[in-house]
């Protein structure tokens, strides 16, 4: 099969790396060639972060460029607007509606755009949800990443057991149940 490209974008510290590990684990269990490209270091300090996940028979480039992503999974609304140009024609954006104002907005040097979801929906297929209450319902605000992975999982036609196993492999044992609940809540949407 051709290469499928998924971008996970958000704000440094939101747990995009765990989400990409979970996804990577599910994909290799299905026998795909997989590449995951991450950002470590400076941008992890509250900057805009992006992780590229690509899979197929044989993957060459580890990164995704404009107009190439089949899916974008965004953990924060402004980041969805920032990265929308990377979505392929006909691709799907799944975005959290939670807003974390960046420093230029906080200092008043820039304005956080209004009605981002509506504006994006005119450009592309969009699934928007507030993942925070669901994460809190699962037991921790930090589980937003796994709730969103649950939403993405419905788009990919793998058996539920594939995801169960991937969560077990990537999440520390003491947080396993919390993350299983978070994943279910996202997947049930």
């Amino acid at each position: 099969m051709n290469t499928t490209s998924i971008m996970i974008v958000g704000v440094g510290g939101q747990g995009t790396l765990l989400a990409s590990r979970l996804l990577g684990s599910a994909l290799i269990s299905q026998g795909y060639d997989v590449k995951v490209s991450e950002v470590h270091g400076m941008s992890q300090r509250g900057g805009s972060v992006v992780t590229y996940v690509r899979y197929g028979d044989k993957v060459a480039s580890p990164v995704i460029d404009k107009g190439e992503a089949d899916y974008i999974l965004s953990f924060e609304l402004l980041e969805a607007a920032r990265w929308i140009g990377y979505l392929k024609k006909g691709g799907l954006l799944i975005t959290n509606t939670h807003q974390t104002p960046p420093m230029p907005v906080i200092t008043g040097a820039a304005v956080y755009p209004e009605n981002i979801v509506e504006k994006l929906a005119q450009k592309a297929k969009v699934v928007a949800l507030d993942a925070l209450p669901l994460a809190e319902q699962a037991g921790s605000a930090k589980a937003v990443n796994v709730v969103l992975m649950g939403v993405l999982s419905k788009q990919m036609h793998f058996d539920k057991t594939v995801w169960d196993k991937a969560i077990e492999e990537t999440v520390p044992a003491r947080f396993l149940e919390l993350n299983q609940r978070a994943f279910e809540l996202g997947r049930a949407l």
């Binding site: 704000v11 684990s25 290799i28 480039s61 990164v63 190439e68 960046p102 230029p104 450009k123």
Partner: protein, 577 residues
């Protein structure tokens, strides 16, 4: 068994499988995880050294003693380690010695964009460059064989996209190697002039042999496809070429120094149009042109800046880009910021308020240069803050009353200590602030000589910064808590006024350390908030301002209370007194 491994983890696996016994490194993005992952294998010893030079010297010593040895560093770390490296090229090795140097094209987390291949050429060392995790593992093992066969340290060059990309890797067992015999051989290992002049001849002879090896090694391969278009490339650039041109002919270099001149010449004759695709400098292209090999495009197309990618490749080759949409309004940038509760914030708020000249250094606190604090005048390299503060105030004595050097605990251990010795020796009156947050922060929490723990989290002696400063003759050493901004300001005023060198240790552990427990989030009493924006001056990502009132994002606030210290109207509530 196939596993999805980070390039850095695959190099660590390669060390394990190659029977390596000794690893010493200083953390540096994007190389850090190699040593962290290596420490997970009980079969090899791994440690954090205080800097790259010490790491390199330790690895050279372990190699001399007969153990396969290793150190890793980022590109600018090689500047620090260059001195021992260049002469280890002359002495050669006993057991294999491999050094990973991780370049950062695009400067995701670095202060410059230097190309480490120049080091391989200058130090006359072989350099391998993997293009994915599989090659990271394989090339690491081959590097040890080469090191011992050719009696040389071997460089393994990565870049951010290889180091920090995961791809599938086949694992094998460890090759158990006994320590090689150590035989005293001063003619080889004592680099005094009479010996080293003969070793230089050996180095030149080794270079000739490696040039022959380069012509035939399977590290380099020709993938012959359509002959109308051919590429010469290496590393992650190879992946972009393959992504955009699956059918083109490609000369894929795995050994990037020395280059296989004759093999490249034959390849050039096989294709109608030959393009060299390499990130950063035009090392391959220049070599080919210097040897009279036809090149139809290279740096004139790719330029010298930033990373490459498939879209850049399409652009320079005149191909159509995929259709894409755009958000029609400006999207505010999201630069990295100090975390909520960061102990550096209180200090930089005071430095900003006092409008001091601040010679900065490398670490999370470099973020003190950004909006809204704008509190740093310069950042050059690890340890530069102290030397620069000395030089700055020597030629502008009047500036000593309003100039400080600012350096973190790990950076102070790395290369700040010698600068401080210089200040004492040469009668400086500068003030140095050592920001002790009890960890190496920016690279993701590595232990260092001041933290009392080793890489393996074993307890060890914790060097006290205040004891060190006093022992070298600094009489004015004091400790303040950056959370108490009044105390910080008072300490600064007193030490800047002093007619002798002083050190203020600004001490509070990083908020992200597991043992640091956050306070409950604060909230803004909207009736008390007058909208004066005093709290906005600290640049906390948890505070925002709308409808003429401040508000707090309770999901990220850790209740540090710095905003409450800024507020003259007691509008922040929720923190216990």
């Amino acid at each position: 068994m196939k596993k999805l491994l980070l390039g850095n983890a695959a190099i660590a696996r390669g060390l394990y499988e190659a029977g390596v016994r000794f690893v010493s490194s200083y953390p540096g993005t994007p190389s850090t995880e190699i040593t962290e992952e290596a420490a997970e294998y009980d079969a090899l010893y791994a440690e954090w050294a205080p800097n790259e030079k010490v790491a390199m010297e330790s690895a050279i010593g372990a190699s001399l003693a007969g153990a396969r040895s290793f150190c890793a560093m980022k590109h600018v770390g090689m500047n620090v380690a260059a001195d021992p490296l260049f002469t280890a090229s002359y002495t050669g090795v006993n057991a294999g010695l491999v050094v990973t140097v991780a370049d950062d094209p695009g400067m995701h987390s670095s202060q410059n964009e230097q190309d480490s291949r120049h080091y391989a050429i200058a130090a006359k060392l072989p350099m391998l460059e993997p293009s994915d995790s599989t090659e990271c593992l394989e090339f690491t093992k081959i590097a040890y064989a080469l090191s011992e066969e050719f009696d040389t340290p071997v460089l393994l060059r990565t870049c951010t996209r290889v180091a920090h990309s995961q791809s599938l890797v086949e694992l094998s067992d460890r090759q158990e190697l006994p320590l090689k015999e150590y035989e005293r051989n001063p003619q080889k290992y004592v680099a005094a002039p009479a010996n080293a002049i003969r070793r230089h001849a050996a180095v030149e002879e080794r270079c000739r042999k490696l040039e022959q090896y380069a012509e035939t090694t399977s590290l380099n391969r020709v993938e012959l496809g359509e002959t109308s278009l051919g590429f010469v490339t290496s590393g992650t650039a190879y992946q972009y070429v393959r992504e955009v041109f699956p059918n083109a002919s490609v000369f894929k270099l795995g050994l990037v120094n020395p280059l296989p001149t004759e093999a490249l010449r034959r390849f050039a004759e096989q294709v109608d149009r030959l393009i060299v695709i390499e990130e950063l400098d035009g090392v391959i292209e220049r070599h080919m042109r210097a040897n009279g090999i036809r090149v139809d495009g290279g740096k004139d197309l790719t330029g010298y800046l930033y990373e490459l990618s498939q879209s850049k490749l399409r652009a320079i080759m005149g191909l159509e880009q995929p259709e894409s949409v755009a958000f029609d309004e400006p999207v505010p940038g999201r630069p990295p910021v100090m975390c909520p509760g960061c102990p550096h914030r209180g200090l930089f708020t005071v430095l900003s308020k006092l409008k001091l000249t601040v010679l900065g250094d490398i670490g999370c606190y470099t973020l003190g240069s950004a909006a809204p604090l704008f509190a740093i005048d310069s950042v050059v390299c690890m340890g530069a803050s102290i030397g620069m503060a000395h030089g700055f105030t020597k030629v502008r004595p009047e500036a000593a009353k309003r100039t400080v050097g600012v350096i973190g605990d790990s950076t102070f251990m790395h290369s700040g200590m010698t600068g401080l010795v210089n200040m004492v020796y040469n009668k400086s009156v500068s003030t140095v602030l050592v920001l002790d947050n009890a960890i190496t922060g920016m690279t993701g929490h590595q232990q260092n000589p001041t933290t009392g723990l080793t890489l393996q989290q074993e307890p060890t002696y914790a060097i006290r910064i205040e004891d060190f400063c006093q022992s070298i003759g600094i009489r004015r050493v004091r400790v303040v808590d950056p959370q108490d901004m009044q105390a910080v300001e008072q300490a600064l005023r007193e030490e800047l006024a002093a007619e002798e060198p002083s050190v203020i240790i600004v001490r509070r552990p990083c908020m992200l350390l597991k043992y640091v427990k956050p306070n409950p989030p604060l909230r803004v009493n909207a009736e008390k908030c007058v909208g004066c924006k005093s709290c906005m001056k600290i640049g906390c990502p948890a505070i925002s301002f709308s409808n003429k009132k401040s508000s707090i994002d309770a999901t990220i606030c850790v209740g540090c209370g710095l905003c409450a210290q800024m507020c003259k109207f007691d509008a922040f509530e929720g923190k216990e007194a």
